[in-house]
C-alpha cells in the first residue's frame, strides 16, 4: 500500500511518515504543491493525504488537476481550516474525506481504513477474540463459556470493539457509534462505560482483552 503525503510542515510529515510506516504503508512525502501534483500524476498511489495550504499550488488546485486527469486515487484533506464551506468545497472537488487539525492519529488511521475497505465489509455474525465469543444475531456474549450479562449499550460497545478488533477507537468515535452523540465532548461517560464493561468482561477472568491507550482511546485485542 503506497500513500502520498503532501504536507509542507516538516514535523507533521515526519510523524505521519513514521506512523503510517509502522502501520505497514509505504510513504512518499512532497513538501510543496508542484511536487505533490507531479508525484500524484506520475506514480501510482493507493491514497493521497493532502494539505490545503501549500506553497506554490494549494490543495484545491492539486485535487482538481488530479481528477481532471481521470485519476481517482482516494484523497483525504488534512487542514487547519474547518469552515463548513471549505469542507463542502473539498468534498465537491472529489475528496474522499476531510480531517481538521489537530486530529488524533488514530482518527486518521480509522478514516484511512474506512476508505481502503470501501468494498462492503463482510459482516460476520459471530466474533471470537481469545475466549470471548460474541453472537451478534442472538445478541449474546460469553467468555470462557460463561454467558455475560450486558445491558443493550454495553453489548453495542463490545460489538463495536470486537468488529474493529486491534484498532484503537477514540472516545469521540465510540460515543458517536454507540450513543449517537455526534460532537466531541469531554467524554467522561465513555470512560465510565468502558470501566463498567471491563468489570463484566475482563475482571472475573484474569486476562484483560479491553485495553486503554491513554490519550487516544480503547482497543479490544489479545495481548
Amino acid at each position: 500500500m503506497r500513500i502520498l503525503v503532501v504536507e509542507d510542515d516538516k514535523r507533521t510529515s515526519a510523524y505521519l511518515r513514521k506512523g503510517l510506516e509502522e502501520n505497514g504503508f509505504i510513504v512518499d512525502i512532497a513538501e510543496n504543491g508542484e511536487d505533490g501534483l507531479h508525484f500524484a500524476l506520475t506514480e501510482a498511489y493507493d491514497l493521497i493525504l493532502l494539505d490545503v495550504m501549500l506553497p506554490q499550488k494549494d490543495g484545491w488546485a492539486i485535487i482538481e488537476e488530479i481528477r481532471r486527469n481521470n485519476n481517482d486515487t482516494p484523497v483525504i484533506f488534512l487542514t487547519a481550516r474547518d469552515e463548513v464551506l471549505d469542507r463542502i468545497k473539498g468534498l465537491d472537488l472529489g475528496a474522499d474525506d476531510y480531517l481538521v487539525k489537530p486530529f488524533a492519529f488514530s482518527e486518521l488511521m480509522a478514516r484511512i481504513r474506512t476508505i481502503m475497505r470501501r468494498a462492503p465489509v463482510r459482516q460476520s455474525d459471530t466474533y471470537r477474540i481469545a475466549d470471548l465469543e460474541i453472537d451478534i444475531a442472538g445478541h449474546k456474549a460469553a467468555r470462557g463459556g460463561m454467558p455475560l450479562d450486558l445491558t443493550a449499550k454495553e453489548f453495542l460497545l463490545l460489538e463495536l470493539l470486537a468488529r474493529r478488533k486491534g484498532e484503537v477507537l477514540s472516545k469521540t468515535h465510540i460515543s458517536d457509534q454507540v450513543w449517537g452523540i455526534h460532537f466531541d465532548s469531554d467524554s467522561n461517560p465513555v470512560e465510565v462505560a468502558i470501566r463498567r464493561l471491563r468489570k463484566k468482561v475482563d475482571e472475573p477472568f484474569g486476562v484483560n482483552l479491553i485495553h486503554t491507550v491513554r490519550g487516544v482511546g480503547y482497543v479490544l485485542e489479545e495481548r
Binding site: D82, E83, V84, L85, P102, A104, K153, S175, W179, G180, I181, H182, F183, D184, S185, D186, N188, P189, V192, A193, R196, V213, R214, G215, V216
Partner: protein, 482 residues
C-alpha cells in the same frame, strides 16, 4: 487631513449646505430671513407713504377744481372772489406752490396765478374732463429736468351757462425730495440692520451651540484607555441630554464588553499557560535522566491527554468566535426532542449512576433545530449539572410545547445551586464560581458559553434560576418555526 474625511471637502464634490458648520448655517438662514422681512417691510412703508402723498395731492387739486366750479356757477359777476381764489390761493400756501388758471371757451386766459404762464403754458395740460365729471388723478409733468408738477384741467359752467376751462397745477418737487430722502435713510437703516442681524445672529448661535462643543470635548477625552470616563449628568440642554445619556449607556456596554474581552484574553492565556507549562515540565524532567520505557510511556500518555484537552479547548473557542460572528451556517431538521433527550440520558447514565445521581426524562415535543448543536447544548447542561449534584440527587430533563409553539427544554438539578451574585456571569467564557477548582476536573469552562451561543444561533434563549442549596433550573427556549 485624513481625519477630516467627513467634512465633505475631501470627497471631491462641491460642499453643500450640509457640510457647513451649524453656526454658519444658522447665521446664513436667519440673516436671509431677516433681510427678507426688513426688505418687505421697508418697501411696503415706502410705497404706501408715496401713495398717500399722491392721494392727498390729487384730493387737493380736485378740491380746488370743485371750489372754482362752485364759485363760477354761483356768481359770474363776483369775479373778485374768483380772482382772489385764483391769484392768491397759491401764494397763501407756504409749503406747496399752487397755480390756477381760468380760460374762456375760446382759449383766452381770463385769470391766472401770477407768473403761471412762464412756468406752465396752457398747452401742457391734459385734456379737460367734462362739466359733469369729477376730476381725475393728476397728470405729472416735468419742466425739463428741474421741477415736477401735478396737473389737472376741467370744464366748468358759470351761472349764465358759458363754458370756462379750469387749469390747476401744483409743484410737487418738495415731496419728491422728501421721498428720495426717506428712501435713502431707509436703505441705510436696512443695510445697518442687516449687518447687525448677521453679527447678533452669529453671536447668539455660537453661544447656543456652545454645549455642542462642550460635549464634543467631553467625548474626545474618552479613549480606549479611559473607557471609564463619562459625559456625565452635567446640566445639558434637553436636546443634548438624550444624546449624552445614550452615549453614556453605549459606553457602559462598550466598557463591559471591553472588560469581558480583556478578562477573557487573560483567562485564555492562563488556561493555556498552565497545561503548556506542565507539558514542558513533564518532558524536561523525563529527559533529565535515563528512564525505563514504562516511565517514558507514562509521560507521553499523560501529555497526549493534555494535548487532547487543549485541542478541544481550541475547537470550543473557535466555535464561540464563529458563532459570535454568525459564521456558522446551521442546517436544521425536525427532531423528536424526547428521543434526543433519551439518547443523551443513556450517554450520561453510567456516569450519573457512578456518582449516585438519577437522570429523569419527561415530556414530549418536536422541534426544528440543528441536531448536533441541540445535543451539545443539552449535554453541556447535564455535564454541568452532574458536577454540582451530590450523591442521591437527581437531574430532570423536561420538554414541552409552549402555547406559542416554541419548545422548551428544562434541565433542573437538586445540586448546591448557584449563589445569586454568580448567576449573571456563569454564562461568561471561562468563568468559574470557584477559581480554585482545576479545569482538568471540570471541563474547559466554556460549556455554558457554548450553550448560549447555540441558543443564539437558533434565535432562542437560555435562562437560569437557582436557589442556593436547592438546585438550579436551566431553561432553553427554541422559537417556533416561522
Amino acid at each position: 487631513m485624513f481625519s477630516k474625511n467627513g467634512d465633505g471637502h475631501s470627497s471631491g464634490h462641491k460642499p453643500g449646505l450640509q457640510s457647513w458648520s451649524l453656526v454658519g448655517r444658522l447665521t446664513l438662514l436667519v440673516t436671509l430671513s431677516t433681510v427678507g422681512i426688513l426688505l418687505v417691510a421697508t418697501l411696503y412703508l415706502f410705497t404706501s407713504m408715496g401713495r398717500n402723498l399722491d392721494r392727498e395731492n390729487d384730493e387737493y387739486l380736485a378740491n380746488e377744481i370743485n371750489l372754482l366750479r362752485t364759485i363760477l356757477i354761483r356768481d359770474t359777476d363776483n369775479s373778485e372772489t374768483l380772482r382772489e381764489e385764483v391769484e392768491w390761493e397759491g401764494l397763501a400756501q407756504t409749503h406747496l406752490r399752487y397755480y390756477a388758471r381760468i380760460l374762456d371757451d375760446q382759449g383766452n386766459i381770463l385769470l391766472e396765478t401770477p407768473n403761471m404762464n412762464e412756468i406752465l403754458p396752457v398747452k401742457i395740460f391734459p385734456s379737460p374732463v367734462a362739466v359733469s365729471q369729477d376730476p381725475r388723478e393728476g397728470t405729472r409733468w416735468k419742466n425739463g429736468d428741474r421741477d415736477s408738477f401735478l396737473l389737472e384741467s376741467a370744464w366748468a359752467q358759470d351761472s349764465s351757462r358759458r363754458m370756462h376751462l379750469i387749469q390747476v397745477a401744483m409743484d410737487i418737487n418738495r415731496e419728491r425730495m422728501t421721498l428720495i430722502h426717506i428712501r435713502q435713510s431707509m436703505t441705510a437703516v436696512l443695510v445697518v440692520g442687516i449687518l447687525f442681524s448677521i453679527g447678533i445672529c452669529f453671536i447668539i448661535t455660537r453661544k447656543g451651540m456652545q454645549p455642542l462643543s462642550d460635549i464634543t470635548e467631553a467625548i474626545q477625552k474618552i479613549s480606549a484607555e479611559q473607557l471609564h470616563e463619562r459625559i456625565g449628568p452635567s446640566p445639558w440642554p434637553r436636546e443634548l441630554k438624550t444624546l449624552a445619556e445614550a452615549f453614556d449607556r453605549m459606553l457602559d456596554r462598550l466598557e463591559d464588553s471591553f472588560e469581558k474581552l480583556s478578562r477573557f484574553s487573560a483567562d485564555i492565556a492562563h488556561e493555556l499557560r498552565t497545561p503548556v507549562n506542565s507539558l514542558m515540565g513533564t518532558a524536561e524532567v523525563a529527559l533529565g535522566k535515563e528512564r525505563t520505557p514504562e516511565e517514558y510511556r507514562q509521560v507521553i500518555e499523560s501529555s497526549l491527554e493534555e494535548y487532547g484537552r487543549l485541542a478541544r479547548m481550541i475547537e470550543s473557542l473557535l466555535f464561540l468566535a464563529r458563532a459570535e460572528n454568525r459564521e456558522i451556517r446551521i442546517e436544521k431538521s425536525w427532531i423528536e426532542v424526547h428521543r434526543e433527550m433519551e439518547k443523551i440520558r443513556e450517554f450520561y447514565d453510567a456516569l450519573a449512576e457512578e456518582s449516585g445521581v438519577e437522570i429523569i426524562c419527561k415530556g414530549e415535543a418536536r422541534t426544528f433545530v440543528e441536531p448536533v448543536l441541540f445535543q451539545r447544548a443539552v449535554s453541556n447542561l447535564i455535564a454541568n449539572a452532574l458536577q454540582y449534584t451530590p450523591q442521591g440527587g437527581s437531574i430532570t430533563l423536561q420538554t414541552g410545547q409552549l402555547p406559542d409553539q416554541s419548545v422548551k427544554v428544562v434541565v433542573s438539578d437538586t445540586g448546591c445551586g448557584i449563589p445569586a451574585e454568580h448567576q449573571s456571569r456563569i454564562f461568561d467564557r471561562l468563568y468559574r464560581i470557584d477559581p480554585s477548582r482545576s479545569p482538568k476536573q471540570y471541563g474547559t469552562g466554556l460549556g455554558l458559553a457554548i450553550v448560549i451561543s447555540i441558543m443564539e444561533l437558533h434565535g432562542g434563549s437560555v435562562t437560569v434560576s437557582s436557589e442556593a442549596g436547592k438546585g438550579s433550573v436551566f431553561t432553553l427556549i427554541f422559537p417556533p418555526v416561522s
